[in-house]
Point group: C3
Chain length 441, copies 3
Amino acid sequence: MMKVLRVTAAAGATLGLMAAPALAQDAAPGVSPEIKFVFNTMLFLVGGTLVMWMAAGFAMLEAGMVRSKNVATICAKNIGLYAIAGLMYWAVGYNLMYDGVDGGWIGSFTWFDHPAHADEDITYAAASSDWFFQMVFCATAASIVSGALAERIKLWPFLIFCTVLTGVIYPIQGAWKWGGGWLNEFGFLDFAGSTLVHSAGGWAALVGALILGARLGKYSASGRVTPIPGSSMPLATLGTFILWLGWFGFNGGSQLALGTLSDAADVSRIFANTNTAAAAGVVAAMVLTQVLYKKVDLTMALNGALAGLVSITAEPLTPSMPMAVLIGAIGGAIVVLTVPLLDRLKIDDVVGAIPVHLFCGIWGTLAVILTNPEASLVAQLAGIAAIGAFVSAASLVLWLAVKYAIGLRVSEEDELTGLDRSELGLEAYPEFGVTAPAHVS
Amino acid sequence: MMKVLRVTAAAGATLGLMAAPALAQDAAPGVSPEIKFVFNTMLFLVGGTLVMWMAAGFAMLEAGMVRSKNVATICAKNIGLYAIAGLMYWAVGYNLMYDGVDGGWIGSFTWFDHPAHADEDITYAAASSDWFFQMVFCATAASIVSGALAERIKLWPFLIFCTVLTGVIYPIQGAWKWGGGWLNEFGFLDFAGSTLVHSAGGWAALVGALILGARLGKYSASGRVTPIPGSSMPLATLGTFILWLGWFGFNGGSQLALGTLSDAADVSRIFANTNTAAAAGVVAAMVLTQVLYKKVDLTMALNGALAGLVSITAEPLTPSMPMAVLIGAIGGAIVVLTVPLLDRLKIDDVVGAIPVHLFCGIWGTLAVILTNPEASLVAQLAGIAAIGAFVSAASLVLWLAVKYAIGLRVSEEDELTGLDRSELGLEAYPEFGVTAPAHVS
Amino acid sequence: MMKVLRVTAAAGATLGLMAAPALAQDAAPGVSPEIKFVFNTMLFLVGGTLVMWMAAGFAMLEAGMVRSKNVATICAKNIGLYAIAGLMYWAVGYNLMYDGVDGGWIGSFTWFDHPAHADEDITYAAASSDWFFQMVFCATAASIVSGALAERIKLWPFLIFCTVLTGVIYPIQGAWKWGGGWLNEFGFLDFAGSTLVHSAGGWAALVGALILGARLGKYSASGRVTPIPGSSMPLATLGTFILWLGWFGFNGGSQLALGTLSDAADVSRIFANTNTAAAAGVVAAMVLTQVLYKKVDLTMALNGALAGLVSITAEPLTPSMPMAVLIGAIGGAIVVLTVPLLDRLKIDDVVGAIPVHLFCGIWGTLAVILTNPEASLVAQLAGIAAIGAFVSAASLVLWLAVKYAIGLRVSEEDELTGLDRSELGLEAYPEFGVTAPAHVS
């Protein structure tokens, strides 16, 4: 059947394609449990695949934002952390987050395996699809850390941190809410992880940045800030587009069900709101940098998109479209206004991960109360504070342990030469002449 | 169940997996309205996500085809236009295109919002999924413009043009056909937008290129054409692959339904034809440039893929596979033959957007009559002419208004220095030595 | 409905979302043949789209691993081979592989076309979706060849080889197993193509590398190996992430069915095992290169991911998660240990395609016997040997025929200048200063 007309909702109703009341009544008989199972499983697999792709997005964003002498190392960190997350979330994380949490603080220390027989896949979606979907969220939290700490942290210490982050720290705080733990019972709401994924990664990054210190030459003793431009704006742009794309899986998949009219409509609202918030973040950042600095700042525009995305992540379903615009635009503004703040505090965050993921993660978590009547300010603040305190404390202990055991930071000489030579013994772009000014050489 | 055999259609029938006549009879009882709703919504969401990804494809293609001094600006334009399209198509465009057009010329000036309750999603797919799918098409039209006008148009004037293009111009002409307006009643056929998206963008680009004029140094007074090579062939190649990938969503999703055997089979034909036309476009462009110029031209091969894709877009369903080959190959040839033509007319189109999207869009729209018995040459010509006239006239007014209000083109000095410094105050590749010959310095 | 809890399998059962025994009994009535048809078709279309994207992955991986003077040519080869595969698999390959093989050696020499009417789509999925899915596998085999032979093979001879490979060689050996031919009857198992796709491409690459000889300067007469670093590590990393992403379609789609609880659960196991094997391959390669060479080798880490993916491809369904880790880790180790072996034999494989696709393809094919009780060592060895012998012999004849007819290798002068100038007459990065050391100039 060839269609010659795109039928809109209204037109569809006019054409009598489907009668609403009848459909609503028929919802239950219309979709058998097995069909729902297939739809829900597909949502996890397709959504999870999109979120997996975000690992490439972070890699490209960060590869574009660091200097060329550190590009190969950031690539190694990103593929390494994604691999480690995949193994740790199998060996420890998943069951620690989901197995028998039951209102408590922690699950079980057992590894995940596929159910032995298909009949044991006795729930609303395949167990392995759920594992896959949750695993890529865990990897995302680690990806957030790599960008903030780029250009001075050694490869293995970073990967060791990621091992514990993805195997233990992320899953424990995840258990509190998504595993059905105490925060969930307290009424804390975080639909797709503004706090559980983005702020969690942001806290780990912030503590790491404080312990590591700034890159050489970034801040002078007198307080002057030297901008250190990234090596490739198109790669940074590509990374942002990849993340934007992946976020449809991140937020849309977090509906966790697709097998009914109601769920499909909800996933659709989530897609529309997610895109709208990101768009508003971009425009807000472009306009604001134009007003403040008389020029659009491309890296702010890119971070504006991510800011909008993080901001809508705690509640992508209940906002109306104008509210999604507002939530995203405020996110974009937060990034533009807080990046200089971090610089004033001499906290060196190479890609802006802390403003984007931590600050906008907090904003997004608070913004739930604007549109979701089930949310309470107290519960939202409790969740932000509890997870912030736990991740910060655990990260602090872990960063310090790694630091005193094997060291975190490359030598000054290696930092000047670039991590690609010292950590990997190669160059990311061996044939391209480097013409960087002295201060970033 | 582990499968050890890939069963082909024929083998499947042999194995008695399904009896055809019985199935055909059971089609109606086999899929409930609610299940169809979920399938159709999924088609819009997955297809729309692929089309969203095309925004990244245009960004990479264009970033690879401009000189390094203008790369960051083209990235800013591309993420900016996608964001603006997302906001304008919410605030104005969608309802202007689809709400109450009813055989007429224009819809309503109201914004789109999600239905208040899921029960109001009373049609064959979720309203918000339809909005999302239509929005990314609108963004595509704007993406086409950015490439043609690269390397000399200022950032904000371009974005202002995109604001009106995506909010008003694109939706009005879209209403004529896909909104059920007068062109639809006249019998004009355009399955996925060879005219409504690609030619529309192409006309806006052509008028813009005429008003802007060519880049400095491109055409000498004596008529000599100086090629200006793009800065990164791998990014241009990546962009082309992204666009090819996204086109499966563009054409496949335009079936607008997936919930029956017939629709699923149609979407499959569309995928196969879409890929085949693109492949034929590549091979035609490679062979033709080899014959004409004694060397394969990579940028022509890439544009050949896009030419094949644009050409099959007006009718990706009814062609047989050999016809898809023919339609795509002619598209590839059109690009190879018309790029020099534009140069002879001193119309400077940086990425070849006008040949690819406008000329092949016209060809594809005419080619509908080759395979679709419902098409008439008169109606196809009427659609091409009406939309060409409207978009050209509206673009002309808009380009001139912006030009006289705030100016369109950067100063000669800024153009020589590069837009990245003048428009954004940064460099796309700050560390890579520039070794361009004098004429492109 | 907003969810505040991510329900795990166990929790879902507790909540009584679905009763397992009842569901198992209801499986047949729960999903009508038409709905299964739609699900299966979707699996082919979505999975095939992901595999299509792998063509871009190979392009980026190879563009990053060659020197900048050969980057545009490798891009042209990759888009060219994908286009050719699409045409040849339509014109010859598909029916040669699937039409009437019936326990034999070869199908029919007829082209594929869409069924004339939707009712003739009388099997478990749309015929055109199956064509699309199989076509992208065929293209993958050709992609494997391009990387190994980069930097010295001429463009057209390579594309001519691909024409025969994708039209005839790949389909014939594919017919033996997936077309239901003699190897299938013999009990050979290869779920998604460790042998049929990856080893097949690997054998063609190996024979080509032997005939072509090494790049100038790679091996000295005294046996010294000169590393020739790739031009862009971020592009190589991007390519690897793209391939990893695409592999979910490659392996997951090879389940060939999604319309039942059992199939959806199986596809989910495949996703989880595929990711796990890749992750294990990365970690194994990173640890092993650290131990052997005192530094992590990024290109080995990237190839480790691909090694894990190839290794799990022959049997991604039956392994438990720990077995997937083992299979992938051994794959990663194979690559690290055999890359130097090839160098000792002076076989110059630019991207490591032979270790990754051929050696790990063999390993993965043998590893089937570890987890699938239906597998036999004899049958697996027979499949490996038969396909290895056929593809090698056919490739040998074809490579030699092309060599003596029109030549395979560029002149020494052109190789030193770079293929981009000699084959295409352009440069991939015309503006970036080249600072390569003398031996790679």
